[in-house]
Symmetry: C2
Subunit: 341 residues, 2 copies
DNA sequence: CTGAAAGCGCTTACAG
DNA sequence: CTGAAAGCGCTTACAG
């Protein structure tokens, strides 16, 4: 069944014996139209349950009032909080949001950008897939429509980017461990450095240097995908060393939770013997025992700011200067590390 | 900045010195057009990076190729798996998906249905907000556009509904507890009975009756929202009884996890003294220790089936008979209950 | 094999 | 204060 009962301006005009133009103007509260007419039109429109066709409206104005969003994976809790922020902000400004998942596949991502253009979106919010090697498709898209990168970004794209202070966040996590007396801090990161992983690693290095702690390659571990499984595996590896670390900084909560599970299995006291810090404050971070110390990423704020800025660019008359907007994170200290006091 | 560089049929036609009609037909591989012309058009279209305006295309055909989806909360892992299924299936059929959150607010839900219509979606997939008392707005929407209910449904709406077998799933969870020797099984459910909660409760009752176990009102507990906090609180309440239960069936994983936390705090052996079963197989169900026995809801499948069916209805020439499609769930036995062997 | 024209629902200069 | 007409980008009967 296709759509039915579609009332248009035409029907209202016919019924009232006026022109379509008049009905349109009346509905849009044009000053030229008499109050009388406006009232008649408004009342009939209401009775007939007239719903303006935004589609037709936008057609003329070359606008769809739709924002396209592409994310690697909608299943991550963090991503869903960002989407919430985007949707909320878009709604306030009268935009709807089309969502697509690139499933961390560069080719799909390129196709999706293309489809977004076909659908005539007014702007695009993109979080890059992990395997994005070439940004050509993104650059090409940028020529057609305002585009803004968030979370997983690339400096190769000259557009506004909304990111969290990964480096600073990692620094504060590691600094926290140092300040609570830890000296031999392992890191679990990604093998193939994504932007996020690289920044977090840099923050880790800076913290060690700042506090004059020697960097030990043997406790810098990486894995392809930083899952709970791999967190366990790498932690087991750390536990097999003669000189064990006294803290583990995992760049995702999943890996940190894997680490905790591994430590518990080996009867290591957390945080006394080995403390653990994760990243992203996922739901599971308060399910695991001890509760996980982690970095809270304000996904909602990222979404709101990204949408806000995109909308600003969409409505600007001139090309705005691309900026990098950094959203602050918070270290949440829980039981997997010592309280600093 | 608004959109730029938009190549239309007009430009191609002008450049080639043919009519717009010819270009349109050539691009659509119309049999009337000569191979020669088709090739010229195709090649120029490619060079100019012509992107067909689906918007204009749909405008004529009264189609947008957009499916609207409204869910209570995009943040639930289960919901994200359903959305994945919907998006994947929609994509296959050339549809895009607009997502909105009702945040369990009936008024917002009604507004969103209205907005979906304004945006001219070709069909709507709706999971009702918890507080949906009146379905008037849904019924009204149904007059305008194909609509299908999934997960959180209502029998008051005469449309196709895709649901999981809540009653059967709960039955199998409780049966499992009984078969592993449990006799005094408490349930943690919702106070204000949502469709899901009610069905799960009925399954619980049926299992007890089937196995001739007396129903004891004192261990049937409810709370407004079945969070981890409330799971803890209600479990503490159970532990304060003279005769304690030997198993707890919580109708959500969160509440089940709260229950486990409370039991661990009281040094109760799980599952020996008290077993716990949850519902939904969330990410956290394998984070908690012992790992949670729970019901896996195939969200992806629900999404796929819902989208499939909606698309079928959208393209049907006659009104299809509404059906109720029940998706099977699976009990996943983990360490929070005994293995049945 | 190709083109001119109408039309999808709406807005908006231009006339009156 | 109101209407006729053009136009957004496309498709498709109707002619030729």
């Amino acid at each position: 069944m296709t759509k039915k009962n579609v009332i248009t301006l035409k029907e209202i005009a016919k019924e009232l014996g006026v022109s379509i133009s008049t009905v349109s103007r009346a509905l849009n509260d044009h000053p030229d139209i008499s109050v009388e007419t406006k009232e008649k039109v408004a009342s009939l429109a209401k009775n007939l349950n007239y719903i303006p066709n935004l589609f037709a409206k936008g057609f003329r104005a070359h606008k769809t009032n739709i924002i396209g969003v592409i994310v690697p994976d909608i299943g991550h809790y963090f991503t869903s909080t960002v989407l919430k922020g985007i949707m909320r902000e878009a709604e306030i400004h009268g935009y709807k949001v089309i969502v697509s998942e690139s499933i961390n596949n560069e080719k799909r991502q390129a196709e999706m950008l293309q489809t977004m253009i076909q659908f005539g979106v007014d702007g695009i919010l993109l979080s890059l897939s992990r395997t994005t090697i070439s940004v050509d498709s993104v650059l090409k898209t940028l020529e057609n429509v305002p585009l803004l990168l968030f979370d997983k970004v690339s400096l190769k794209v000259p557009c506004t980017q909304v990111i969290i202070d990964d480096e600073e966040a990692a620094f504060s996590a590691v600094e926290h461990l140092i300040q609570t007396g830890k000296k031999r801090i392992a890191i679990i990161k990604e093998t193939e450095d994504s932007y996020n992983s690289k920044m977090r690693y840099l923050g880790y290095l800076r913290a060690l240097r700042t506090y004059n702690i020697e960097i030990d390659e043997s406790i810098i571990l990486s894995s392809e995908n930083i899952s709970m499984q791999n967190g366990k595996r790498l932690t087991n590896q750390l536990l097999s060393m003669k000189v064990k670390p006294d803290a583990i900084f995992a760049i995702t909560d999943s890996a940190a939770i894997g680490a905790i599970k591994s430590l518990k299995r080996s009867k290591i006291k957390i945080p006394q013997q080995i403390a653990v810090v994760g990243f992203s404050n996922s739901n599971s971070s308060i399910v695991i025992e001890p509760k996980l110390t982690t970095i809270d990423q304000p996904g909602n704020k990222i979404g709101v700011v990204a949408a806000q800025y995109l909308i600003k660019e969409m409505n600007a008359t001139t090309q705005l200067e691309p900026k990098t907007i950094v959203i602050k994170t918070n270290l949440i200290v829980r039981d997997s590390s010592f309280n600093p006091n």
